[in-house]
């Protein structure tokens, strides 16, 4: 007896195709940028390699520097003010507002301005597609929810799931190869991909869900928020002088194994201000446990984000989605799984294109999306790092050009190779531009690892474009000679 009826398989395949075609391009860009975003700390370090790096900090120096920063007339005081502690991925101290900030030297003197425009460009692409935040996060979150549908329909449309469980035929080329690659990566990665889909759907729509929930229980969104999440302390007459060292000592007593992330001063411009220390707990996925203090360093309370239950689960969404737990090994694991999802998105459309009896402009536009995205990202990174210009437009114009150019090339294989070759060249140019901009600092521990990784990726693209394993163009060209007219 067949587990899935032919009719169910047929209709599931139809739904899978429809959703996949609608979302494929968007999904690919979101997945690829998400995979890169896993390393946002390393990228932030790379784009400002001149900052002094250290892991040990003297609390007295921190306190004096933070108070100097907070009382300076040059500081743009915003609702939240930050003191970011060093960690292995980003071993530097940063003082910042919601708008700007600078690094701190070990002796307490001001370091260079903190730049995170490039990491912001990449995370901005993943989180809101560079659209206005309210619109972008909703679109990305909806894509996450519909990914759940794609995963479910993919299973229902796959009657030979056991029979084909380990098959990978045709060296990943051609329709069978693409089908096998798509199915093997998606089936075995499904638990991870489902987790990414559900957690990805969280960010853009949780406010709407909360508002709907509040309306259903006849309360305001603010009151509902307080009923679900730990309430903030209510203070008054707090002096704008911060006893950071005293509070820090107590935090270390309360959480001796915790990893200090940052200190946020809430309501900084008002006399209701208070300090909140975010401390990651070993072995837990929750973003942090938070310890609150008044500005004199008197302990107020602990938020309770790691005390179990639903709040802890909600507070774990970020780290589960972005792979920010367990160190560098987890990041590598997430890169493998994230790239797999990107390949699944790309091969899904490839299968549809290969299935058709004819080729048209879509066959050459699609490689522009898949191979044009890394090229456009590299070019945007170059203009951002070397010329310090906001480069979201460079990415989108670059991607549009890559898609449009495909229409004129009319040869998928040739066009893919050109895009790969151009990406290899652009990556080398990016590293050269980084060295030219930052000089010796580009070769420091902050700059070198990412540059080496970029060159390794450039090498991969170069081999894929021109290497000995790449078939000659005449053989690789799908469809052979293009008929005139």
């Amino acid at each position: 007896m067949k587990l899935l009826s032919p009719q169910l398989v047929k209709s599931s395949l139809s739904a899978h195709s429809w959703l996949g075609l609608m979302l494929g391009g968007l999904m690919f860009i979101i997945c690829l940028s998400g995979t890169i975003t896993i390393f946002y700390e390393e990228i932030e370090r790379w784009e400002q390699p001149a900052a002094e790096e250290y892991l040990d900090v003297d609390p007295a120096v921190l306190e004096a520097s933070f108070n100097r920063y907070m009382s300076s007339s040059d500081t743009d005081m915003t609702e939240h003010m930050y003191l970011v502690f060093p960690n292995e991925s980003l071993p530097r101290v940063k003082l910042s507002s919601d708008l700007e900030g600078h690094y701190l030297n070990r002796d307490g003197s001001d370091g260079p301005p903190a730049h995170d425009e490039l990491s912001g460009l990449l995370t901005g692409l993943h989180v809101n597609l560079h659209l206005p935040l309210n619109i972008g996060v909703v679109i990305v979150s909806a894509t996450g929810a519909l990914l759940c549908g794609l995963i479910i329909s993919g299973f229902l449309a796959h009657p030979s799931i056991v029979k084909d469980a380990f098959k990978l035929r045709g060296g990943t080329a051609g329709r069978i190869g693409q089908v096998d690659l798509h199915n093997r990566l998606s089936v075995w990665g499904a638990p991870f991909h489902l987790m990414i889909a559900i957690t990805g759907a969280y960010y853009g729509l949780v406010l709407l869900l909360g508002a709907m929930f509040a309306s259903a229980v006849d309360t305001t969104p603010e009151a509902f928020n307080e009923a679900v999440f730990p309430a903030e302390p209510a203070l008054e007459n707090q002096a704008p002088v911060y006893a950071v060292a005293r509070a820090l000592e107590q935090v270390r007593e309360m959480s001796p194994d915790g990893q200090l992330l940052y200190l946020i001063v809430h309501d900084a411009p008002t006399d209701e201000r208070f300090m909140e220390f975010y401390v990651q707990q070993p072995g837990l996925l929750a973003w942090s446990e938070n310890y609150r203090f008044d500005t004199a360093g008197n302990y107020l309370d602990t938020a309770g984000y790691t005390e179990g239950g639903a709040v802890q689960a909600l507070y774990s969404v970020y780290r589960v989605h972005f792979g920010h737990f367990g160190g560098f090994a987890t990041k590598l694991l997430y890169v493998a799984l994230g790239l797999a999802l990107s390949v699944v998105s790309a091969t899904g459309i490839n299968i549809w294109l290969e299935k058709r009896k004819y080729r048209d402009a879509l066959n050459t536009i699609w490689p522009g999306v898949v191979w044009g995205t890394p090229l456009a990202l590299t070019l945007a990174s170059f203009t951002q790092v070397v010329f310090a210009v906001p480069s979201a437009a460079v990415f989108w114009i670059g991607l549009a050009l890559a898609m449009t150019a495909g229409v004129f090339v009319r040869d998928e294989a040739r066009y893919k190779r050109r895009l790969k070759g151009a990406t290899a060249f652009a990556l080398v140019l990016l590293v050269a531009g980084h060295i030219a901009t930052f000089g010796g600092a580009a070769l420091s521990a902050a700059g070198l690892p990412v540059s080496v990784a970029l060159l390794a990726i450039a090498l991969w693209f170069g081999i894929a474009a021109f290497g000995p394993f790449t078939p000659p163009l005449a053989e690789a060209r799908i469809g052979g000679r293009i008929p005139s007219g």
Binding site: A165, L168, G171
Partner: protein, 180 residues
């Protein structure tokens, strides 16, 4: 370190056993043993890294080992029809009817299904005897799945009348539970 090594080995062995069980019809018990070991690897990873991080690793590392197994045993022969001649045609633009049909499917399966999934998820948890944070958390994690399932079901329909009626019915039912 030893715990991590043991957990990694158990994931690798699980992937290997499942592959052997799949490849040889006479060795089905290998597959069963592999799945059992994959399950046990969760405990090994939890022992090594704690239950929360451990479960994530057990799922991710196992998938990676399976992919390695697939890559190592891939049939790399270029038997595919890479040289099949397919004519290059002019891009066909869909007509007004197709735009209307696909536009309606989009509206039903994306924005409408999204709002309905949220309403339905909240309505389902609202009457459960749980604390508010738990109700909210369950709704947060359930609604994307409900949205996905509803979206797929809508896209799978040949005619649009049924999805329209079902969407209206679910919206009315949820609204009744939520706001009546």
């Amino acid at each position: 370190m030893l715990e991590t090594l043991l957990a990694t080995t158990s994931s690798a062995a699980a992937a290997c056993l499942i592959f052997q069980g799949w490849r040889r019809a006479a060795a089905r018990m290998f597959a069963s043993a592999g799945w059992l070991l994959a399950l046990l690897s969760m405990f090994a990873w939890s022992w090594a890294l704690g239950p929360e991080v451990g479960v994530c690793y057990a799922l991710g590392v196992f998938a990676c080992f399976v992919w390695v197994e697939i890559a190592l045993t891939a049939d790399a022969r270029k038997t595919v029809a890479a040289a099949v001649q397919r004519p290059f045609a002019a891009l066909q633009r869909p007509g007004a009817q197709a735009w209307l049909k696909h536009g309606t499917i989009f509206l039903l399966s994306v924005p409408a299904a999204g709002v309905i999934a949220m309403m339905l998820s909240i309505a389902l948890v609202l009457y459960l005897p749980w604390a508010m944070p738990l109700k909210f958390a369950v709704a947060v994690f359930v609604y994307p799945v409900v949205w996905g399932v509803l979206g797929v079901w809508i896209c799978a329909q040949d005619a649009l009348l049924k999805p329209v009626l079902v969407n209206v019915g679910l919206a009315a039912f949820s609204a009744l539970l939520l706001f009546a």
